[in-house]
Structure formats: structure tokens, C-alpha cells
Symmetry: C2
Subunit: 218 residues, 2 copies
């Protein structure tokens, strides 16, 4: 039985690649690492179909990470899943402001969600960051407004999961990012979540850091 | 647009219930909260089909949580996703030992994975805990051994995701838990992950704490 994490990861990726071939799915090479890591994190081949990339999004994000770009995410679960060794190697950092008292207070004062208030904070204090949204449609809608007002994040990852406002929020962010030339990776439809947000971040981090198999897995 | 977290959650659950009806799926009432929260966390209706419960597993777990049972999980992502207000209300706590130096050292000494060493630690120091495995098949295989040697966890949640050893580990833990009368909730097949492990924990916690909509969501 394979038990070494590196062996298991190689084995998993080989199985995913073989099943993609069987399904007749050809991934554009520049997007393959991201798509495969989403399938790896979910065992759900829908991610071979529902992910959308603005042109050059992966290249732009990898370059940003190599320059030490920060990541701001809307869930502490995604934050916990983002590879620290990888980000550390690149000189980057990752943040989630959802549990901050200051954000809770700001949300209450402005009559908005914590997720939207967290993105206000990110726009003000981390304007060139990668914004990774795995949970809250209101975070994506707030990013849409901010881009209209001039914000230029290094990348928007739009992968909230759910049944209410989710599909619309992802279509909207993709349209706006396309219009304004902001790199974006979006999972159209209902699917996504914190583990998908983390998987996309990690695929980009591993590519940027030229790491093969950094994650412990037993 | 609905933006209040409680409103969104109610709306989501109503959509999930309606789509289950459309698909002709009748969930056993005692398992419905767990199944629906897994679908809520993934937007993947496969969880209406792949989850297996040993008889009385939900009731046993809810009673254990009401007595203050602890949760030990094999990923920091799942740990980050488990409802702290809910657990706090019940007097419980949640732990993940994967990042502990002591566990890394023990794994190295014994030539095993960190996940297996983390379960050794859980068996020794938290023997009546709920063991929630969202990532590592080797953690499940180690729990199988421990149950054979007399360990009686309050519940085993077996939902690792992946392509190598995963399916086998879940079939094995379900068989062993059934044989020894240990409550278990298992997602057969490849699917699962940290967000599913957390979703199952939270469904049980909310039921035990009689909470309706504790989670912030924007």
C-alpha cells in the first residue's frame, strides 16, 4: 500500500489525468494544475467543466506570488488550507479577517455582512492582494464594486458554494473582471467552497515556488 | 436580495429539501440534518446517496456532544470549520494534532504517517472523543486497529477524499465499526474532505445545542 504522501499525491494525479483522458477532456496546459488540484480536493470531475479563467490569469497570479503577493480569503477554513511552507518560500502571507472584532464592528455600523466588511478592509490595506472567496457571495459583490471604483487585485478567486446568490455573484465577478482586465478564476454554478479556494491558491503557490509535493498527507 | 446569514441558510435548506423531493430521495429523518449540511457545504447531491450511518449513530453522537464530548480531527481545515460557539455551548472542544512537533517526531520514530500518529495520540489522550477524519486514509486504518484493540470512540466520521487508499479505508472502517458497535458516519466512494468533516460535526453540534443558524455567512 502506498503510504508516503509524495507517492500518494503522484498516484492521485496520475489517476485524475487518466480519467480526464477517458472523459475526452483536454485541459489547456496553463490551467491544468489548478483544475487538477480542485478535482484532487473534491474527487469531483465537475471542476473540469465549471472553472473559468480570464486570459492569462494563472500566469499573472504566479508572477504576483513570485513578487510576494499576499492572499486575503473570506474563510478561516481556506486560510487553514493554504500552504504555509509554499507561501513562506515566496515571501508572501495569507490573511482572513472574518473573525476580527474590528470587522464585526464595521459590518454592524455599515449594515453589511462581515464578508463585505472584510473585503473593504482588504481593498484598503492589501490592494494588490489575491482575493480568494470560498464562501460569501456578498464578498464577491463588494469586490465588483471596488473594481468599478479602481481596485486592481492581483487575482480574484470566485468559488463560493451554495444555493442563494452564489451563481449570480460568480457570473457578475467574471463579467466585471473580464471587462476591467482583472485576472480571475471562477467556478461557475453552485459548487466551490473553502477547500476549492485553498486548492486553487495551493496550485498557484506550488507553481510559483516550483514545489512538487509539499503537502503532508497520510 | 437576501443577505442576512440566517435568511440565506433557511433559503438554502429549503432549496436542498425541494431538490431532494424532485429527485425522489427520502432521507431517514434522523440522518437528514447531517446529509443536508453536507450538500449545503458542497452543492453536491451525491452526499444524499454516499453517506452511510451505523444504526443510531446520530443519536449516539448527539448524546455524547451533550455530555461534552471532544472532537479530534485530522486536518486543521476541518478544525477551522467546526462551530466554536456551538461546541462552547455544549462544554466541548475540538483538536487537531497534525501540526504538533511531538506528533511529527512520533511519526518519524515509528515510521508512520503524521495522521496515524495523531490518531495514536487521540486514542491515548481522548479515548471517548468523536474522531473526524477528512483527509487521511491512514488515520482511518489506524482507528480500525485501535478499535480492534479496545478503543471505543463516541463516533467515527470517515470522510477522507481522494483516489488512493481512500475507498478501501472507508469500507474497512464502516465494516469494523458495524462489527464492534461503534457509531460511524462514512461517505463511501472517493468524495469527502475537510469541509464535509466539518459539516457533519456542525450538523451534530447544532442538533445537540438546539441551535438554528449559528454560522456567520454573508
Amino acid at each position: 500500500m502506498k503510504t508516503l504522501p509524495a507517492e500518494i499525491e503522484r498516484g492521485s494525479m496520475a489517476i485524475i489525468a487518466a480519467e480526464l483522458r477517458e472523459r475526452g477532456i483536454m485541459l489547456p496546459p496553463e490551467n491544468a494544475a489548478v483544475v487538477m488540484r480542485c478535482i484532487h480536493a473534491s474527487a469531483d470531475f465537475d471542476y473540469a467543466e465549471n472553472l473559468r479563467f480570464t486570459p492569462g490569469a494563472v500566469e499573472a497570479a504566479v508572477e504576483a506570488l513570485r513578487r510576494g503577493a499576499e492572499i486575503v480569503t473570506d474563510t478561516n477554513m481556506a486560510l487553514a488550507g493554504i500552504s504555509r511552507p509554499g507561501l513562506g518560500k515566496l515571501g508572501g502571507a495569507a490573511y482572513c479577517f472574518m473573525a476580527d472584532e474590528e470587522i464585526a464592528r464595521a459590518a454592524k455600523e455599515r449594515g453589511t455582512t462581515r464578508a463585505a466588511a472584510a473585503m473593504d478592509h482588504a481593498a484598503a490595506h492589501h490592494p494588490g492582494a489575491i482575493l480568494a472567496v470560498g464562501n460569501a457571495p456578498t464578498a464577491l459583490f463588494r469586490i465588483v464594486e471596488k473594481i468599478g471604483a479602481g481596485l486592481r487585485p492581483a487575482l480574484v478567486i470566485g468559488v463560493p458554494v451554495g444555493f442563494v446568490n452564489v451563481v449570480e455573484s460568480k457570473e457578475r465577478i467574471l463579467a466585471v473582471c473580464t471587462e476591467y482586465g482583472v485576472p480571475a478564476i471562477v467556478a461557475l454554478g453552485r459548487k466551490g467552497g473553502s477547500s476549492i479556494a485553498a486548492a486553487i491558491c495551493n496550485a498557484l503557490i506550488y507553481t510559483a515556488a516550483e514545489m512538487l509535493d509539499p503537502k503532508e498527507r497520510g
